[in-house]
Symmetry: C2
Subunit: 276 residues, 2 copies
């Protein structure tokens, strides 16, 4: 029997991947949670029917949500990840020698547990002594934090279900207040090909709060359209003003390098037009 | 009845798109040729079961195979497209005021005819007086041309069937001989995610012939992995040495702009490693 997993990424379009095994399936308090073994992309974590990460291409998302901000801030010591229960962003954050504490605020503890079990490489940083893993509501944690973090990363699922509040202006205001006076935030902001309205709105909201707002894109084959984006809000530092020659080169990366730090912000014309 | 077109882009992975209508289907002397109306991507041209172009994302491929080379050469007058029967590259080439003649060498006349009928915007340049449309074998035409062209673009299908010869070293040598002494070639070279071996080989072959060899990537959602690449071989001019401020800004583009001319050559680490 040949089994194929098909994700309708839009109502009328999707990807399909041959699977060799279903590893795990459950419905947690927050979402449907599946792990499958695909032939092309390795182990795949699927939440509410949407691909979150795969063994083979996870490095792009995790490196690129983390290192751009951490290499823009001159001395990031305390970092928060909202969401990101698989641990991939944490694994990258703790590569930076300046980081003293990395807090993970994941609402669904089951994501953390299954990631440890089935995606051990991605989750490998979660046991590090610098890492504080908390199964808590990220929105609440943001509300309770004031001038605490150097960098905050919003590593959320799509803007449906438990993640809707992570794309709201109130939330970005809360992050602003939770950041130190020279802090930086980065949020994952979907595909320029398929989520133009969301990208425009988030960019406008972040730009109304942060003096420096920057938008960058990366290639993630198993995400809708293959082109994914992040929006950065920064209170002080501009990622385009760093000295590339002096940037920290995080060990073991496969996508990020100091030499692409600035060029990822160079956008195709139709994408540039989205955030004008 | 709901109809979905599924392309297995690899043996174990693919895309699927809901279609509203099958517009045309035939088997030409060279290949199976289908045109379907998809809800997400508009009209889609499918050759031998592989998506060649769609209304909605065609601009990326056609702008990016053309303008990078034409804006690297200071005065391109005579340009050849091998393949590219849909006419999209031609439409972009003739935007450049210096171009006096653009030759299309397409082996399958049926591709040209159905494109004119079903993809009129893409094919819109084919009737221009500067354009010479020839239904001929591109390999033969290359063999017969000596020091004739300023720019040659290899706008081929995948390296199976009629296009195999378009990825061979002999062919790149022939192109070298068909170019003037300061000529530039660009070939489409598949996906860095899925075609590493081909990319390495082509890069090595082109680098053994041309003093300047450069590799760049673009985002094309309906192509395998969403990340596509082009390899440039240049006898004299380096795309990274142009003065961006002086580049021609082709009218009506949606992807290319002078400001991304150089940044498309900045590669993620795993891609950079492919061509080392």
């Amino acid at each position: 029997m040949e089994l194929w997993y098909t994700e309708k990424q839009t109502e009328n379009y999707g990807i399909t991947a041959k699977i060799s095994k279903t590893l795990h399936t459950e419905v947690s308090k927050f979402q449907a949670l599946d792990l499958i073994e695909t032939v092309e992309w390795g182990t795949m974590l699927v939440l509410d029917g949407m691909v979150m990460t795969t063994d083979r291409d996870e490095f792009v998302y995790h490196e690129m949500i983390s290192h751009v901000a951490l290499n823009t801030h001159p001395n990031p010591k305390k970092v928060l990840v909202v969401g990101g229960g698989d641990g991939g962003a944490i694994r990258e954050i703790i590569k930076h020698p300046s980081v003293e504490k990395a807090v993970l605020a994941e609402i669904d503890g089951r994501v953390i547990e299954v990631s440890k079990q089935y995606l051990p490489d991605i989750a490998s940083g979660l046991g590090d002594p610098k890492v504080d893993v908390r199964v808590i509501d990220g929105i609440k944690h943001i509300q309770e934090s004031k001038q605490e973090y150097d960098v905050i990363l919003v590593d959320s699922t799509e803007p449906v279900g438990p993640a809707v509040g992570l794309f709201a202006k109130d939330f970005y205001q809360g992050i602003y207040d939770a950041l130190k006076e020279d802090g930086i935030m980065v949020a994952q902001t979907e595909s320029p090909w398929l989520n133009a309205d969301l990208i425009k709105r988030v960019h406008r909201d972040i730009a109304s709060l942060y003096p420096v707002t920057r938008y960058y894109t990366v290639s993630i084959p198993t995400y809708p359209s293959g082109l994914w984006s992040f929006t950065m809000g920064s209170k002080k530092y501009d990622p385009l003003q760093v000295d590339e020659a002096k940037l920290f080169d995080p060990p073991g990366t496969r996508y990020y390098s100091p030499s692409i730090h600035k060029s990822v912000f160079q956008l195709p014309k139709f994408v540039e037009d989205l955030i004008k």
